[in-house]
Subunit: 188 residues, 4 copies
Amino acid sequence: MIPDEKFIKNPNIPGPTKEEIRCLVMCKSQVRPDDIVVDIGSGTGGLTVEFAKRAKMVYTVDKNPEAIEITKSNLEIHEVKNKVQIIQDTAPEALFDIPNFDILMIGGSSGELPSIIKEGYKKLKDGGRILITSILIETRAEAVKTLLSFGLTPDVVDVSISKGRIMERGTMMIANNPITIISATKLK
Amino acid sequence: MIPDEKFIKNPNIPGPTKEEIRCLVMCKSQVRPDDIVVDIGSGTGGLTVEFAKRAKMVYTVDKNPEAIEITKSNLEIHEVKNKVQIIQDTAPEALFDIPNFDILMIGGSSGELPSIIKEGYKKLKDGGRILITSILIETRAEAVKTLLSFGLTPDVVDVSISKGRIMERGTMMIANNPITIISATKLK
Amino acid sequence: MIPDEKFIKNPNIPGPTKEEIRCLVMCKSQVRPDDIVVDIGSGTGGLTVEFAKRAKMVYTVDKNPEAIEITKSNLEIHEVKNKVQIIQDTAPEALFDIPNFDILMIGGSSGELPSIIKEGYKKLKDGGRILITSILIETRAEAVKTLLSFGLTPDVVDVSISKGRIMERGTMMIANNPITIISATKLK
Amino acid sequence: MIPDEKFIKNPNIPGPTKEEIRCLVMCKSQVRPDDIVVDIGSGTGGLTVEFAKRAKMVYTVDKNPEAIEITKSNLEIHEVKNKVQIIQDTAPEALFDIPNFDILMIGGSSGELPSIIKEGYKKLKDGGRILITSILIETRAEAVKTLLSFGLTPDVVDVSISKGRIMERGTMMIANNPITIISATKLK
C-alpha cells in the first residue's frame, strides 16, 4: 500500500482514505487486472490511485472541483493518470454515460446512496462488486437496507484501527476514526 | 459525570481523563464515602475531582508544577478543594508520608510503575483497590506483570470509545484513543 | 458494579448487559435516589437491578415471560424486589399506565423504537433522560433520527470493550460485541 | 482473500487468521512474486496459504504435529503445496537451516520472540520485512522493544474488526478479538 503521507492533501477535501482501509477495500473488491472500476466520491483520490494500480481502467467521479484537482495531482505523482478517466459531476447522473463495470466503489454519496446503488446496479456486470465505505451511522443502515432490497447479501465490517506512536517513554496508541466497509457481489 | 468541557485545561498537561473513562474508573474503584484515595499523576485533575466528590479524602500527587496548578483550579471550580490534599512530588517518594488508604489510582508513573505499586501496596488497606490507566503498550504489560507478582489478579479492560458528531449530513463517529484500565483488589 | 457472573442467566434471554456497559449507562442516566425509572426490554434484568439500587422506583417491562421470570430471580438475589414493579407487556402499550418518570431506558424495542420514544417522551419529566442501548446498526440510526425529531440532542457513544484473560503464556484480550449508548435530556 | 470458512479447521489449533487480518498482513508484508517467506507458528496455515499464493517460496514452521497436519491439508485444498516447505520444529532452531529470506512472519513464538527475531534478522535480506501478529499484551510490548533494539522502526497497528450478522430484526455487529500487527523493514 502507498503510505498515507505520499498523497498530496487539501484541507478542504476528505482523505486520503487511510492505508489500512485502502488495503481492506482492495481485498474486499477482489480487483483484477481486467477490471473496470467506478469510484464515486473520489475525494483526495487515495482509492482511485490504488484501484488504478490494480485494474484496467478507473472512472473516478466527484462533484467538487477541488476534489477533482487534488485527485488529478495524486494520479500524476503515482503515475496512473493514463488509466483513469476523471468526471466532475454529481452521482448518480455521472453513471449514465459510463460503460458497464466490474466494481462500483462509493466513498461519498451526498445523500444519494440509494439512487447511486440503483443506477450502479444496472451497469454492474454479473459477478461484479459494490463497495461502500461509511463514517456516518445513517449511511451504514441505508447501505445495508438498499443492498438487501436488491437481493444482495451485504458483508458488513466495522474497522477500528489504532496506530502506535513510538515515544521515549513508550508506544502510545492513536485511534483513527472507525469506518465501516459494506460490500456485496452481484450474482451471476 | 462531569462533562469534559467543564474542566479547565492546559495544553501542556494531559487530560482531563475523558468522561466515559472517569465513569469506568469510578465503577472499577468501588469508591465509597469513607474511602481515602491516592491519585498519582493527577494531570488536569479530572479523576481527582471525581474521587473527591465520592470519597472522604484524596491525596493527589504530580511532580509537574503546571499540573498542580491546573488541578488546583479544577478542584476550586468543582468545589471539592477542602477534601483534597495536593502534593507536588515524584512517586513513589510521595507515598512515604501518606497514611494508609483504600484506593491507589495511578494515571501517570513516569517509568516508576513497579516501585509505585510496591510502595503503594504496603499502605493499601486490606480489601483496597489499585487502578492503573494506561495509554502505552509497555505500561499495560508492566502493570499486569507487577500486579501478578504481588499475587493479585488483574482485571484488564481495553476501552475504545467513539463519540457521535451530529452534522447535517449525518452522525460521524469520532474515535478517542484507546485506554486500558487495569485494576486489582488486595485480599483481606 | 455487580460482576456479570452474579446474575442468573437463561440461554434464551439476552443479557445481562455487561458490567462496563451497565456502569456507563448508570453514569449517562445521572440516576439519583428520588428518580422514577422505566426499563423497556429488561431481558435478564441487569440494568433493572442496577437502577433499582440507585433509584426510588423502577418499572421494568418485557413482553417475554421467560425474561420476566429471569428478571424476577435477579431482583430477588440482589435484594431490590421491593423497589421494582414488573410489567409483562409490549411497548409502547406498557407505558400507558405508568405515571410520569425521570428516566426512560430502552434496551429492547422489538421494532417499535419510534413509538416507544414518542409515548415515553410524553411522560418524561422535564430534565429527564432517555437512553437507548443498541447492538443493531439500524437501531442506532433510528434512535438518533427519532431523538432529533423531538428537538433533542443525542449523545452517541460507541463502546468497544475487550477484557484480559490471564493465561500462563500471557494476557489475551477477548472482545465483547460493540454496543452503542444513545442518550438525551428533555429540556426544562 | 480466501473466506475464513474455506479453511479446514482443528479445534485444538488456533486459526485460521481471520480474513481481514490476513489481508492487512499481506499489505504490510509487501509480498512480491520473487519473495522467499518464512512463517513461524503456522497454526492452521491461513497465512501460509496466502503467502504461498503471492510469493515464490514459503518455509512454514510449527512445533505442533497437529498444526503441521492441518496446515498440510489447507495447502492441498488451496493448491499451493508445491510452493511450501513444511518444517516441524521449534523456533528459532528451525531458522538455522533455512536460506536467506525476504519476509519473516511470526504468528506464534512460544515465549521465544526475542531469539526468533534475533536469528531471523541475521537471515533477513536487506529491505526485507519482519511481521509479528499478537493477541497477547505482553507480546506486543516485547515485539516493539526487540525491534527497537535492532535499530528498526516498528509500525504498530491495533486492529479491531466487527462483522455484521444480518438478522430479521437488523444487523448485529459481532466482534472479533483485537489483534496487533507489528512490522518493520530491514534497512538496505
